[in-house]
Amino acid sequence: MAEICCEEAKSTPATAVAAASVSATAAAAAAVAVASSALERRRRRLEMRRFRVAGDPEAPVAEDVRAAKRQRLARTLSSTCPDAGSGSGSDSDRPALPERLPRYGVTSVCGRRREMEDTVSVRPDFVPGTSKQHFFGVFDGHGCSHVATMCQNMMHEVVADEHRKADCSGEETAWKAVMERSFARLDEQAASWATSRSRDEPSCRCEQQKPLRCDHVGSTAVVAVVSPTHVVVANAGDSRAVLSRAGVPVPLSVDHKPDRPDELARIKAAGGRVIYWDGARVLGVLAMSRAIGDGYLKPFVSSEPEVTVTERTDDDECLILASDGLWDVVTNEMACEVVRACFHSNGPPAPAARANGAALRAAENGSAAAKGVSVEDSDKACSDAAMLLAKLALARRSADNVSVVVVDLRRGI
């Protein structure tokens, strides 16, 4: 029996679907052998999943898939070898798996622009030492993409670090401080990017211009932290977060446009001007009043986020984060209706459907702009909704990059 299992493991096919079926076969064999062993193996597989997600959040999707295969193979081998006992010992050291990982869909397309300046960051269980807190971020760069890329790579780490320092227990004021400090740190990082950048990193467009144009680069940032009880949103710029509650869109962020009355007053009080040039622009240049970066437009363009802390309810359906490539052509109402319709079309997620959709989800979530997305964590309904919203934006002739994240907030399923 042990030899047969080892041989089976060695011949694991490349595709995720086949890998899932091999796993199912192993599970069936285990069930035939001993019921308690089956339970033991299931626990190990669940912990393996948790380990993969928590262990290497930086890994891009392709590597994540390969790592998953390596982990699965290694675990299968160890569980069928004589030293399974010691393996069991090490398993007990790992923290318990959270009840359920988040279900979400991500789409990020260049669209009708020639440059892709949007980035997306999805980091399940992003706070070390705790569970059930998930990070989602959409960053829409302008002038160049390096600030948006920096936010994609670092924002979740900075938020986790500030969260740890604050010993944040969930109060609204505490989260506001965490987010404000996080955005300020990223803003400082953007300002020092040109001087602190590693020699190994390739120079990007803004750096190749003389004089340096790095100070003319920035990014929007709309960030959401989803926990079992709350949704925290921090926003700077004109990307947006919208909650769908009992079919009604609830904005969790308000776009920072220069002609928003309070923003206009703040800019003028600081000695700046808003000039109308194909829309309202700070100093006639930037079409948003807050952003990470844009050093040469400070203090008029602030990086201070507006933070909302929303308690979750049973009526909550989904959270949508997207860049203005979507919101310029699709209303909050329309976006929420589309997601709800996609949820309805897919029906409540069934465990059996997950394996069947694995290959398709791998293709759907292949975009390099969405780091940290785990194939197995993505739910078909959320992916369908995110992709359909992006297609609708393209059909309505959106002229910008389009990035959409849809998070399933429904409870009890």
Partner: protein
């Protein structure tokens, strides 16, 4: 160089475009009526791809003779030339065209979905572009734009290099020689060395002419190589879409739309330039009747 042969090559290509469009439209109608199999549609698509390949091959041979002609072809209208990129259509336009086509019908399907009338089918538009396909199209778009930019940069370098050296030094040299000739003309009448100096200057100018010819030939050869690579990128982008990403039916629709757009723009711009030419003729006639008045064309 033989401009007539180049134009003949182009006319042959246009005739092929028109025949190809007719074939694609027939295939599209058959597909809509359920009378065409995927294999048959794939054959039509492949024939279209071979047509592009044949044109690129013949252009490659002709462009070795005169690469410059293909960058601003005298057989095309000014408008047609204004939308050329390195002697042909811009490859990334194909993706923009596809985004347009894929959006058709989507709005209505979304309305059906929201109204609960779609039986749970996720809308994909009339063309039926799936989520997986959109991801692949987006990736191809990024790669194509990147390669386009690289080729555009090479053209910029060629243009800057030839002006910088050797053309400007030769121009400056001729300016100095002309100035010297003016000075020498005055001195020549009173000096027995005038004839000798004139012979020396003639020798230098002859050498400069050879240098100019060499520089222009080098530039033309480089443009020819650039045209070949641009055609390869055009082919690669169209082939990736038509045979790797899209289904045969989708590929037929995309290729038909592309040919239709090309031929329409050509017809429209020729009609406008013919009308402008007629206007010019009228102006010319009125000028002929009055020697003292010039038409303000």
């Amino acid at each position: 160089m033989d401009m007539a042969r180049y134009e003949s090559c182009y006319r042959h290509w246009i005739a092929g475009q028109e025949a190809g469009l007719a074939e694609l439209e027939a295939a599209s109608a058959n597909a809509a009526a359920g009378r065409a199999t995927d294999a048959e549609l794939r054959t039509v698509v492949e024939r279209c791809m071979l047509g592009y390949q044949d044109y690129a091959t013949r252009r490659r041979a002709l462009s070795r003779e005169d690469g410059v002609a293909f960058f601003a072809p005298p057989w095309c209208t000014a408008f047609e030339n204004s939308v050329l990129w390195l002697g042909g259509c811009r490859p990334s336009l194909t993706v923009r065209l596809l985004y347009n086509l894929s959006g058709e019908g989507l709005e209505a399907q979304v309305e059906e979905l929201l109204g609960g009338l779609s039986n749970g089918v996720i809308p994909t538009g009339a063309l039926g572009i799936t989520s997986a396909q959109l991801v692949l199209i987006n990736d191809l778009h990024s790669r194509t734009v990147h390669q386009e930019n690289a080729l555009s940069d090479r053209l910029a370098t060629l243009q800057e290099d030839i002006a910088d050296r050797p053309l400007l030094p030769i121009v400056r040299q001729r300016e100095l020689a002309a100035a010297a000739r003016l000075g020498a003309a005055a001195a020549a009448s009173g000096s027995c060395d005038g004839a000798a100096r004139r012979r020396l200057r003639a020798a230098r100018l002859g050498a400069a002419d050879a240098e100019v010819d060499a520089a222009l030939d080098s530039y033309k050869a480089a443009l020819s190589r650039l045209l070949v690579e641009a055609d390869e990128l055009r082919m690669a982008t169209a082939r990736a879409l038509a045979t790797e990403i899209l289904t045969p039916r989708q590929a037929v629709e995309m290729l038909a739309a592309g040919k239709h757009l090309h031929l329409s723009v050509r017809d429209w711009s020729r009609r406008r330039e013919a009308a402008a030419g007629a206007q010019q003729q009228l102006g010319g006639q009125s000028a002929g009747t009055d020697n003292t008045v010039r038409p303000s064309t």
